[in-house]
Symmetry: C3
């Protein structure tokens, strides 16, 4: 019983429009992320570079945060997949360290 | 006035079905976590082990993320309490490092 | 193309009532945070010190989490601005380390 031991993993948050959800979750399925949760975003201000003007996500377009927890080796495949997606569409991703008690639930045996 | 100093704490996120909310918040009250926030989850894919098939939380069952910030010494009591809960029900928990400006708000004097 | 390289940034989460949203987003605009997302909070228990009794946010008052990702040097200006806000109103803020793949999206050139 090592259930109280915490194991290091990576939490990945991706913010995209609702229409892009399936592209992201298909990617997560493909790299065998074992799960994710999707959180609705009430409002947001876009992350824009110098070329791109800031804009509000509002009205018609829904915005979502897709959150998953994966072993470190799956972060790069997610990044690589999103790079293609984000070259056409706006979206942001950030990665942080988390610890989980049951790592077998997150694709680490 | 050291309000601009940041103090290390632990952020704990628990993802459970809405029916289990009270079990989790009762646990947090018992260990004297000073607060928590509950975020609705729009959709999610379950984290399943080898025995358990993957499934979608959808339709009837609501899913929530309960987020709390506690001093490090309270992480193990939370883990121990959730271990019992999660032995009967699915649910996941992950822990990350955060810093707060007003640690007295989080049960650290 | 270093799009797969991750750069360290800070994730700041601020939990405030809906009425205070604009005060926080104005502050973020002023320090030129390039974006943020706002997540509705279903329920929450307040973070109270010894003087302040615990209370539920419910019914009439909405509660929101404002999440932004900024370069480290912007954390202190945010803290300083929120310190003024939080001296009158309740609210909490926590900071964590994140990594992003496109740092130019977050105000770092």
């Amino acid at each position: 019983m090592d259930d109280l031991v915490l194991h290091p993993m990576k939490e990945v948050k991706v913010v995209v429009s609702g229409e892009q959800r399936k592209l992201v979750t298909d990617l997560l399925d493909r790299i065998e992320a074992t799960g994710y949760t999707i959180i609705a975003i009430t409002a947001g201000k876009g992350h824009g570079g110098l070329q791109e003007s800031h804009f509000m996500f509002g009205g018609m377009e829904s915005l979502e945060m897709i959150l998953t927890v994966v072993p470190e080796e799956k972060v790069e495949p997610i990044l690589a997949g999103l790079k293609t997606l984000f070259s056409h569409q706006s979206g942001v991703m950030f990665v942080s360290d988390v610890a989980v008690s049951r790592r077998e639930y997150f694709g680490k045996s």
